[in-house]
Amino acid sequence: MKQIVSILLVAAIGILIFSALYFSDETLKFNEYGNVNLDDRVSEKYIDKSVNGNTEEIIFGETQNAESGSANMVTSVVVNYRSFDTLGEVTVLFVSALGVGLLLNGKRKRKNLKDAPNFILKQGARIIFGIMVVFGVYMFIHGHITPGGGFPGGAIIAASILLLYLSDDEFRVKLSAAKAVESTAGSLYVIVGLLGIVLAGYFLQNFLPTGTVGEVISSGVIPIVYMLIGLKVGSELSSVIDGFLTEEVEG
């Protein structure tokens, strides 16, 4: 079953890429080797843009259909203009989490904490845990408006998981669920990129309407991508924490 699904998935992605590159309409079509007009390329465009491009003022909450649509400059660079680079960063994190998982694999159980956590820490951690998760989610949903984004949001979620680990002797993350979230989010990020090829012509191109600057639902695929990154980073770091705070069962 698994093999059939993965073969179908690979075939679908292959057809998607192939049709996007060779059968879409003229404007989106991939140029043949040697016939590319370099003036259309990113570097040329942005060098010119700062000199004589669009210089009208952007007003928070009013301007519509701005280029990236994100009020946060860093986000618009990280997830729009240089999204491919971010895909690489996510991959680096994935590989390091994979390394930890490979070294610390097998049937595992919780390490006993030296001192059992007392009542105050247990109850306090329970209250703070909810606030921290909500704040982490807020961090990556609002990544295109306020400072923050997927990476810090995911790290905050993982920190809340760490708090539960330190305050409870029995607590363990469901590793299968963490892995499922991680792999789903990672593949969805790539699929968003491939949809960019199909709908707009370039890998990870922003293909949704960018809306009004400063609203939560705006700036196209940026919030979607940041949500995926946040979930991915959070679940990855949680499984790393689980690897470090457990020990192998002998026999």
Partner: protein
């Protein structure tokens, strides 16, 4: 309203300053934790509330911050003090006093 806010802010600043002195001047780690937490909790409360009086449109968010400090600050100091006690940190005491037991 603005005057009340300013007075609260000054009170908060004074308490934060006293908390800083306490951290410097107290003899052992437990007394320092006490100075650093109790004084700064009250100081941060009145400072943030004062800001809320001066800018009433921020009041709700500032109250949320106060609630967060009210939860985290005591829990954190309790955990630190317990860890220091279990580790056998130096305790300042006068002649003839006994160590108290902590669970």
């Amino acid at each position: 309203m603005i005057i009340a806010g300013n007075i609260l802010m000054v009170i908060g600043g004074v308490f934060l300053l006293l908390g800083g002195f306490g951290v410097l001047r107290m003899p052992d780690v437990f007394n320092r934790i006490q100075a650093g937490t109790k004084a700064t909790t009250l100081g941060a409360f009145s400072l943030i509330l004062g800001v809320g009086f001066v800018h009433p449109q921020w009041l709700l968010k500032l109250i949320l911050i106060i609630v967060f400090i009210a939860i985290t600050n005591p829990v954190g100091s309790s955990v630190l003090a317990r860890a220091a006690y279990k580790k056998g940190a130096y305790q300042y005491k006068k002649e003839g006093e006994e160590r108290s037991e902590v669970k």
